[in-house]
Subunit: 512 residues, 2 copies
């Protein structure tokens, strides 16, 4: 075995069996090693941000770490933004980045660059393989790092000669260390806080879906506290059967109102609330000044254990009250954002995964689907545009039996539009809904939020994506994806039914 | 004036009047300041790599520094790969990156990230504005840094409160320090080296186009040395009226042959030759072991002065022999890469700018156009894929009266395909020739170069961009660009004529 082969064998022996790739020459021996192992699933992305965004959502939906395969410093640069989102989502991703052979790095070749520098700016752990014999051990340590704290960004730099040289035997990644837990005194203090009037339980990570969410609902109900979540989260269970939950708002004034009655806040798996952006004269911290915050269990600690301890201390044995399914009628008339949402609520299949990068446009969809069939909803928690379509790829690879619905703006979709091809190539069941509002609506709003008055020609040029309009049906066809254009509710409902029924990806341009 | 306004005024007062933008909320006051100044040309790019690649080629063609406007760490990440190319091209780029307000950075907001870390991994200079009153001075220092050493990557991090707070008066960027020059003894030694049998003058930067290239040709001719250049360069003057020049080769064995008779090499504005990648058992250094290398004038030193000093010492007064224009007939029959090149040579207008990211596909075009009408040719000197279309944007903005011809592969075009929209939005005269070979041909070749045998299913999945085929005419239409598909020489010639004649961008799918 060469080093690359020992690395792939280590990954497979350690339970990593999926690799989102955008390789180059310096990774060719790793590609050859993947080629020897049909058990390793390789998904080709035509841009590195597609690979990192897919690995992010793959982890969010499966709990498993996938690898990305990237080409030197520029390749890592292209993956950076979606690794930022993955990091904020608490997702584990293992980046394998090729570099020049160690002896070649002393010369100024075209692709020589600061791989350690760019990867160090976003990774929790960076390991550079030093020799082929140690690559298996390096790989097992890197994989373990990706699994630490519930999921981290881990990068393994693989100089070409450590891939082609003689490798050692395959290794197996040791399990990550146990997650830290708050001590009993802190639990008792948190219980005290949660029982106060105006208490909120702000949760994140595994407390937002599946059994963790039920447990969080049980704790909040027993304490009489409001169950809350950050604005943008990696994954949240929604719809029928989930406990009611209040999400923070984007606009500062709204968020201040959402938190206005909060006198005590206990954080479990979530960071303290903060305004998305800073604005002149507006607060960074949205909660009332007299609100006491108990940071009980930071992200990366043992969220489920903490909730169980709270439930025990509260005697919270009763199942939480949950939302009863309420499916609306399909609306009629011209298409609006809200009507897109209501139609989605009417037709949403059980177990759907909604990937939401609609920015300003998906608010209606979020509100209208609160009582829809049970589903998971994925945000872009780092706020870096370009996560949506790659996330949809990763979610669909992780959950081939669940329909994926990607909500995106026309502005946001353009950052990583190449992901459409991967959806077609892999026959992924993704319905892409593009809200075609012809520009960066969020920037128009933000300019208002900042009180900057009416935009002039230079500002308009930076906010509008028109002249020419993007042609979304042509965009779909260009990437081999079927599509429809919907201008009214009936057309949108038809298109959504078709998209959900037909195998493979389907793009709907929603003209709103 | 607020800080942002003082910054824009500083830029305009210092001769920076073009900004390639992909802004977000944290840059909104900078956007408003740009809006107040109609003299500042703002070009919207739908992805940050489009902005950085455009600024790169803008500098290569105009010699002027443009700004990019980027949104926090993820936005910089998206710009990274094309800044790598710009750095290797010796281009000056000034990145203005917004960040959260200074007081907001203490909180874990979604977009909080390591802006200094990611920008430090590629920039020559990073300046973080500390307060609004100092932004004008910071901006003038950052612009000066971008103009140093002939052109550098300079980054100004602009926390939002330094943009909206009270700014000081506009500043003017001081001129950059004089470029270093080799001392007379080194010049004399280089002259001695150049007069030897088997001498080569390896040049880069300003020695590769315009008067610098004529001067380099004069020096080489007077010394009896071979005029040479690296494989990938930022800009090279070619065609009728330019001195004959030998470029290094990509394949190691070919490059060893190209340099096989070289006994002495003098470097002026170029790095020493090195293989593009390392391969087992193949040399990193392609020149013969007994070839003496004189590193007379590193990139970033005073190349033109050095050539003038060499010309003086050699008594090189005679104009160099140059290539006589030889326009071929338009070929007939099925389309091949060489025939694309010959047709291009036949129809190339005087003063065309060819942006070449054709990778394996544009070799024929490069060879066939050696004696075409005078033109400039731009490579992707950092080897980071995704430079081509953004470079075409920047070249066309810099030189509105010259036709731009972008050669790209179907694999490489997909990295930054959004640049098509900017070409349409700005009505740029760019003819995009897509060599549709349905995959990463370079990877297929590299696998052979490495002796790794016939690829299996996993490798093929990583090399092929087919299933589905990309539909290039639909891709053009999606972005508002007119197009044609050419399967034979007559069709290609017709399409090229149309593209060169019609205003605005035109895409040709060349089925080869």
């Amino acid at each position: 075995m060469n080093g690359a082969q020992s690395l792939v064998a280590t990954f497979l022996a350690s339970g990593l069996d999926t690799c989102f790739t955008n390789p180059g020459t310096s990774e060719m021996h790793f590609v050859a090693a993947l080629d020897d192992q049909p058990d390793m699933r390789c998904v080709l992305c035509l841009f590195e941000g597609g690979a990192s965004g897919a690995a992010d959502a793959y982890h969010r939906m499966s709990g498993k770490v996938a690898a990305t395969l990237l080409h030197l410093a520029p390749g890592f640069g292209n993956a950076f933004a979606n690794l930022h989102n993955a990091r904020k989502a608490g997702a584990g991703v293992l980046n394998v980045v090729g570099d020049h052979a160690t002896y070649h790095l002393g010369y100024e070749s075209p692709l020589r660059g600061d791989v350690a520098g760019v990867s160090g700016a976003i990774s929790h752990s960076v390991i550079t393989a030093q020799d082929a014999g140690g690559v298996a051990a390096d790989g097992s340590r890197a994989l373990r790092a990706a699994r630490m704290a519930g999921g981290q960004i881990s990068t393994l730099i693989l100089p070409a000669d450590t891939a082609w040289g003689d490798g050692g035997p395959a290794a197996t990644a040791a399990p990550p260390p146990a997650l830290p837990r708050p001590d009993p005194a802190r639990i008792a203090a948190a219980v005290h806080a949660l029982r106060q009037d105006g208490a909120a339980l702000m949760v994140g990570g595994p407390a937002l879906h599946g059994p963790g969410l039920q447990l969080a609902g049980r704790v909040a109900q027993a304490a009489g506290a409001t169950l809350m979540a950050p604005l943008l989260v990696g994954r949240i269970g929604r719809g029928a059967g989930t406990p009611p939950l209040t999400r923070q708002a984007y606009v500062v004034e709204e968020n201040v109102m959402v938190l206005g009655n909060t006198r005590a806040m206990v954080l479990v798996g979530a960071d303290r609330p903060v305004s998305f952006f800073a604005y002149p004269g507006k607060p960074s911290l949205p909660e009332p000044p007299d609100c006491a915050i108990t940071d009980l269990c930071p992200p990366g600690w043992d969220v489920v254990h903490t909730l169980e301890a709270l439930a025990d201390a509260l005697g919270a044995s009763a199942a939480p009250q949950t939302i009863t399914q309420a499916v609306p009628d399909i609306p009629e008339g011209p298409l609006t954002q809200d009507r897109v949402g209501r139609t989605l609520a009417a037709l949403m299949p059980d177990g759907a995964i909604v990937v939401d990068e609609g920015i300003t446009s998906s608010r209606g969809a979020s509100m209208e689907t609160v009582a829809a069939a049970p589903h998971d909803w994925l945000h872009t928690p780092g706020g870096a545009i370009g996560g949506g379509l790659p996330n949809a790829v990763g979610a669909a690879v992780a959950c081939p039996d669940r329909p994926v619905i990607a909500l995106t703006g026309d502005g946001s979709a353009m950052y990583t539009i190449q992901s459409l091809w991967t959806m077609a190539n892999e026959r992924l069941n993704v319905v892409i809904i593009v809200f075609a509002n012809r520009g960066y609506q969020i920037l128009r709003l933000e300019r208002m939020n900042l009180g900057l008055g009416k935009p002039g020609p230079n500002a308009m040029r930076m906010f509008d994506v028109m002249d020419p309009d993007l042609d979304w049906q042509a965009m779909a066809r260009a990437h081999g994806v079927a599509s429809a254009r919907a201008e009214d509710c009936a057309g949108f409902a038809d298109a959504l039914r078709t998209g959900l029924k037909e195998p493979g990806p389907f793009l709907i341009e929603a003209v709103v």
